[in-house]
Symmetry: C3
Amino acid sequence: MPPKFDDEGTDRKLCIIVSKGTMEWATASMVLGNAATSEGIELHVFFTFWGFDAIIDKRMDKLKVSPVANPSMKIPGTEVGMANMLAALPGMTAFASSMMNKEMDKLQVPPHREFMQMVHDSGAKFWACRLTFDMMENTMGLTKDDLWEGVEDIISANDFMELSEGAQIIFI
Amino acid sequence: MPPKFDDEGTDRKLCIIVSKGTMEWATASMVLGNAATSEGIELHVFFTFWGFDAIIDKRMDKLKVSPVANPSMKIPGTEVGMANMLAALPGMTAFASSMMNKEMDKLQVPPHREFMQMVHDSGAKFWACRLTFDMMENTMGLTKDDLWEGVEDIISANDFMELSEGAQIIFI
Amino acid sequence: MPPKFDDEGTDRKLCIIVSKGTMEWATASMVLGNAATSEGIELHVFFTFWGFDAIIDKRMDKLKVSPVANPSMKIPGTEVGMANMLAALPGMTAFASSMMNKEMDKLQVPPHREFMQMVHDSGAKFWACRLTFDMMENTMGLTKDDLWEGVEDIISANDFMELSEGAQIIFI
């Protein structure tokens, strides 16, 4: 599908920087991104730091939400916050993540990879941060082939600055 | 009090997305929001994800700050970071929250609900995210009546995109 | 070195709000800030809340990354996330921080203080939040002399609103 925004004559542009790789922030990025492209807004999504989890092929289907250090996360069915000691128990992260996945499914929010594809198909461009890539190449042997195929290119922070000229910027 | 920004002929607009519900981020939102409206800037605050704690009536008076996973939080009176194990002890979250409340009170920062009312009265509009609302309706039976009365409406991410045209956007 | 942006006739302006004081977010701020000034963009960096760690002289050389509550942080050499219980063990924060420091050094990313100086020398202005300063003055006796010498001034949120007129804003 050709980019919607090219056809609509709008010059509004949005850049989303995804710096965290947990399920809630990956989802938030795509919810906002999807809204943007469907409104005919030119969209660029720049993945950096922990946000790489959302574009590393073997990680992106296993994003987790973390209940630790999040007083907003309550014990299901109650108003009692998961105490930090409880939330840190082995298994709680997996439990909370699977719960959130189920709830999002009920509301027709697609799983992360599918959601990315959908926003990509509506004309958004996805970019990977050069510095993060280089660091992960050194520490874990990451290669370009390990990235999701929808990633346009690996670009520097300077490239991002040029890309984001005149754009609204959302740092997630 | 009528919206200040209508009278001043400025067309500057700010949208704050509140995605976290802990005390420090709810406060940060209102500090920036209050500064914006007092400068005659049109302000929209959009609450989403964990940010709902800040607009759920029975939660908004009990916001907590979390010392876990925050190396910036020191043991009072020292330069020693609260070790994660210590910070995770039952009671530490409550202790840190009450301490921060007291300090903010000394500096005339109003409690969260009052602060929200103040910013609301100066002309800001508060919006709740449809997707988050629907998820909380499913999981905990949230109804519109459970939201703080200052919330204008429940709107979609698309609505937010339309609302934020031409605005500066701050994602907290 | 005189501000680059004055010479280039661009009127693009970027404001970065640094609200967190851990190593990854301090670094992210300077990576983006450095890219901005090197592109001739006027840059203002506003430090607030936990972000003060990045400008308090005796803290800024000891910034830490926190592995707790961050499912993106894997056990080195594996795809296994550091379980929260493991990450919370005494020593893990220091270990992860020293590891990240070493990796950044390999990629020629300067240590935090040096990086700040570099961005400062390229024309950026650094500002400290009045409310945060007042709170830390009350709780830990912070004085203006405790702040890094590159900080221009202590300013209010209202001052920041005036400063950021017409700017892109990134809240980190």
